[in-house]
């Protein structure tokens, strides 16, 4: 029994080590994607930066695309978690928008790249961006529908309400070199964009 027990422990440590390496590869890839671009970063660059052999990458991710998808998924889960945590059921539209901005701020450089390169990404990776937007639209539209019903904002189609917000944010993020060459676009303009957007919705 002891042998079996210790055997299981070894296996579990190995498993833990494997998970740690996988996470390190995801974190390394995320920062490289943010810095160099999603399509410009090669798996060899990720391996070098993470201090592992090139083969190690493929022991964890079958293809370059699988690594990219794992990174987008991790980013999406974090953003969704943040939004869910900060904008609970019954939050105001302002609170949802603030939570969205706060979540994006945490991964702004990566998100900017994702937005800029989305049209060129493999289909599944691109669909994952739609999935991230679905979480945002779920929270945003729930709050907006409530406020429309209460007469706090003008009645309008939900998709236009959502796309107006996303369009505004993405325009600034996609051109961050023009709006905030040396820093965070969302830090510099987030509050202004939020106030402007809410003023457009006012009855």
């Amino acid at each position: 029994m002891k042998i079996k027990g210790s055997g299981e422990k070894v296996k579990s440590q190995r498993q833990q080590q494997k998970e740690r390496t996988r996470q390190r590869l995801i974190d390394t890839a995320l920062s490289l994607y943010a810095r160099e671009g999603l399509l410009a970063t090669r798996t060899a660059d990720v391996a070098r930066e993470a201090g592992v052999s090139h083969g190690t990458i493929f022991a964890h991710f079958a293809t370059q695309e699988a690594l990219l998808n794992a990174v987008i998924e991790t980013f999406g889960t974090t953003t969704a978690g943040r939004l869910h945590e900060l904008a609970s059921q019954g939050s105001s539209l302002r609170e949802v928008l603030q939570a969205h901005l706060a979540g994006l701020r945490e991964g702004e450089s990566f998100y900017s790249r994702l937005v800029r390169e989305s049209r060129m990404l493999p289909n599944e990776s691109r669909q994952m961006l739609v999935a991230i937007q679905s979480v945002v639209s779920h929270h945003l539209c729930a709050a907006a529908e409530r406020e429309m019903k209460e007469g706090m904002i003008r009645p309008q189609p939900l998709h236009l309400l959502f796309n107006t917000w996303i369009g505004l944010l993405h325009y600034y993020l996609a051109n961050d070199d023009l709006f905030a060459p040396e820093g965070s676009v969302l830090e510099r303009y987030g509050e202004e964009l939020l106030e402007h957007y809410l003023s457009l919705l006012a009855p």
């Binding site: 869910h84 669909q127 994952m128 999935a131 639209s137 998709h159």
Partner: protein
């Protein structure tokens, strides 16, 4: 924290679980009125409609996004990955 096996939504409050039952693995949005989980077809249809309604995508594009989203979730992985 649990995540809904059918749509991926994080579930923290009892009100977020189907029938308010925290032992369930799926959320209030993925449950039918009687508390059972929606079928693949029902979920695909409702998720597609949700994407069209809140993001304005073309119907076909929305369905393909919904399908791809569902294929990554535990409830549908087997069925959609193979198909």
């Amino acid at each position: 924290m649990k995540k809904c096996i059918a749509c991926g939504m994080p579930m923290r409050e009892p009100s977020e679980f189907a029938l308010g039952d925290t032992s369930k693995d799926y959320c209030v949005h993925c449950a039918r009125p009687d508390g059972t989980m929606q079928s693949l077809e029902e979920k695909l249809k409702s998720m597609t409609a949700f994407i069209v309604r809140t993001q304005g995508l073309d119907g076909q594009a929305a369905e393909s996004a919904a399908r791809s989203q569902m294929a990554r979730l535990p409830a549908w992985q087997g069925q959609l990955r193979e198909g």
